[in-house]
């Protein structure tokens, strides 16, 4: 397997979160009762006239620009014809030979190196409905057309990806960019981002193109990585055994940890694309493109570069903080109001993210505000609480949204910096542990840490650590 390299291209579909569907005015909403979010247009009833949602076009141009694409001055919609019950018109409105965006790229970082992955095209299309298959051996399927007509972007990468890690990094970067420009929720688990992969392997460095397979049914970024790993292994084994890889569609089987054949790949000509006569061509003026470009927010790469220069963060921390716009916003709101942006970064990439993951939350749903964190850091600076107690306070703030000061009062967590009180406790600890004290005097450094620990225990962690160290040293 070491002598082979993989050639991977990804095809990503993202649902855009416009208010209404792509070509009709039904709400673009998830989770309604089956078939209650439809109208004659998305049902494909005869005689209706679809009209493009201006937000779909704006979102698509935004995404194209954020992915460094050229925006086509002239673009049109085509019908992709195929018969499937989740597609009420028997064709999908899509774009074929004149997609809206072409020739873009995005940069990914893997193992400290930056690689550029080309983006062949980004085009607009509509989603299909959902099929619910009858239980057991039932010979019927049920159709829910609520999702039919929801706007999608199809984003096709060049076959520039060489490893499963790069594929995952590409998806993470894509998700990050699309979330920054606020066009999609990009939740793979909920189906608002879907990914298929084209993959072939070849002897390393030869540049030949072997038959590729298309992998479907991957439901998380991790699944994409694992499926590609398994498929590389499988294809390498086929070639190594003197066989030939068949060009086919395969499905990732999570339980088996392998890909399995699906159906033979339909030829493009079978879709019999032709221009959709219902939808008129799109001509986008340079003015409109520059207006949309001027409205783009600062994108993750640029923001990460600024975080390293403006706040003195490492490239790694800046990358973690800027991967999500909500996280970067949270961080920046704190960093702007506190003297030490690196310390803020430690708290945000550390405790904050730990709790976000442990509680399985979205950052926007976190009750803790940037002001809360800054207040707490200032309380540490003032000596009101110790850094150790701060972790307890932070977790409480995170879960309840209360202010640090209130939590400290309620729980009696104020740091004990009273010399008299601490001296008394130090005395007690020393008296109670004559053996340990003797060890320390005989040069055992660890014994000292034990004694400090005992003082901390007696004060339930509230003792001022610097003061405890000094008092203890003086006493013994």
């Amino acid at each position: 397997m070491d002598n082979y390299e993989a050639v991977i291209g990804l095809e990503v579909h993202v649902e855009l979160h416009t208010k209404t569907k792509a070509f009709c005015s039904c709400p673009n909403e998830f989770g309604k009762e089956p078939n209650t979010n439809v109208c004659p247009i998305c049902l494909g009833l005869p005689g209706v006239l679809p009209v493009i949602n201006e937000a779909l076009l704006e979102y698509a141009v935004k995404a194209g620009l954020a992915l460094n694409c050229e925006i086509a001055a002239f673009s049109k919609f085509d019908r992709k014809n195929y018969y499937y019950p989740d597609l009420p018109k028997n064709y999908q409105i899509s774009q074929y030979d004149l997609p809206l965006c072409r020739n873009g790229y995005l940069d990914i970082e893997v193992n400290g190196a930056t690689r550029r992955v080309g983006i062949t095209r980004v085009h607009m299309e509509e989603d299909a409905g959902k099929l619910v298959h009858g239980e057991g051996g039932a010979d019927y399927s049920l159709v829910d057309l609520n999702r039919a007509g929801v706007p999608l972007l199809e984003i096709v990468s060049e076959p520039d990806i060489r490893t499963p890690e790069e594929a995952k990094a590409y998806l993470e970067k894509l998700k990050s960019i699309l979330s920054y420009i606020d066009v999609s929720d990009c939740k793979m688990e909920e189906g608002s981002l879907r990914c298929d992969a084209n993959i072939s392997v070849r002897p390393a460095g030869t540049g030949i193109l072997n038959p590729k397979t298309e992998i479907k049914n991957m439901n998380s970024f991790r699944a994409v990585q694992r499926a590609l790993e398994a498929e590389i292994k499988r294809q390498c084994a086929v070639w190594a055994a003197g066989g030939t890889v068949e060009s086919e569609t395969r499905a990732w089987d999570e339980n088996k940890g392998t890909t399995v054949p699906m159906r033979s790949k339909e030829e493009a000509s079978d879709y019999r694309y032709f221009p959709d006569p219902d939808l008129v061509p799109i001509v986008i003026s340079p003015d409109r493109v520059s207006r949309i470009k001027s409205e783009l927010p600062e994108l993750p790469d640029a923001r990460a570069r600024r975080f390293t220069s403006e706040y003195g963060l490492s490239a790694y921390d800046a990358g973690v903080l800027t991967a999500s716009r909500a996280l970067a916003d949270f961080y920046e709101a704190c960093a702007r109001n506190y003297r030490d942006p690196k310390l803020v970064s430690n708290w945000v990439t550390g405790e904050f993210l730990r709790l976000v993951n442990a509680r399985n939350l979205e950052i926007r749903d976190v009750k803790l505000t940037p002001a809360h964190l800054v207040e707490m850091l200032e309380l540490i600076d003032k000596g009101t609480i110790s850094g150790k107690i701060a972790k307890t306070v932070f977790e409480e703030m995170f879960d309840t949204g209360k202010r640090a000061e209130d939590i400290i009062k309620e729980k009696g967590l104020v740091q004990i910096s009273d010399e008299g009180e601490l001296s008394r406790i130090v005395e007690e600890v020393v008296t109670a542990n004559p053996g340990v004290v003797a060890d320390y005097r005989n040069g055992k450094e660890k014994a000292f840490a034990f004694l400090v620990g005992q003082v901390m225990k007696a004060t339930r962690g509230k003792a001022n650590p610097q003061l405890v160290n000094r008092l203890l040293k003086e006493r013994i």
């Binding site: 416009t18 208010k19 209404t20 009709c24 005015s25 039904c26 709400p27 009762e33 089956p34 078939n35 209650t36 979010n37 439809v38 109208c39 004659p40 049902l43 009209v51 493009i52 949602n53 201006e54 937000a55 779909l56 076009l57 002239f74 049109k76 014809n81 195929y82 018969y83 499937y84 019950p85 004149l98 099929l131 619910v132 298959h133 009858g134 039932a138 010979d139 019927y140 399927s141 049920l142 159709v143 829910d144 057309l145 079978d270 019999r272 221009p275 006569p277 008129v280 061509p281 799109i282 001509v283």
Partner: protein
């Protein structure tokens, strides 16, 4: 251009149509005559004519991103050959 029987069968399959032998022959003749007519048009010199991407001379018809009423469920399902609760019911595909 004469269509082969195989081509007719391929097109019929794509359209999910089950044709009898007699129909295949009938449609082969009809489709062939359509294509022959297209051949005549193809003979025209279009060297200096810009390609037509669309039959209408208008562009950029967009609608605002505003919600409208959806269809009541009973109307949505009124023509369904088979219904199952809120769903259209169809023969199983997979």
């Amino acid at each position: 251009m004469k269509l082969s029987k195989k081509e007719v069968e391929h097109v019929a399959l794509l359209a999910r149509l089950a044709l009898s032998e007699e129909e295949k022959e009938r449609f082969r003749a009809q489709l062939s005559s359509v294509l022959e007519y297209a051949d005549i048009i193809n003979r025209l010199d279009t060297e200096k004519v810009a390609p037509t991407y669309h039959v209408l001379p208008i562009q950029n018809v967009e609608r605002p991103d505003k919600e409208h009423e959806t269809l009541p469920l009973e109307e949505t399902l009124q023509n369904a050959p088979q219904r199952d609760g809120n769903y259209f019911r169809v023969p199983r595909i997979i």
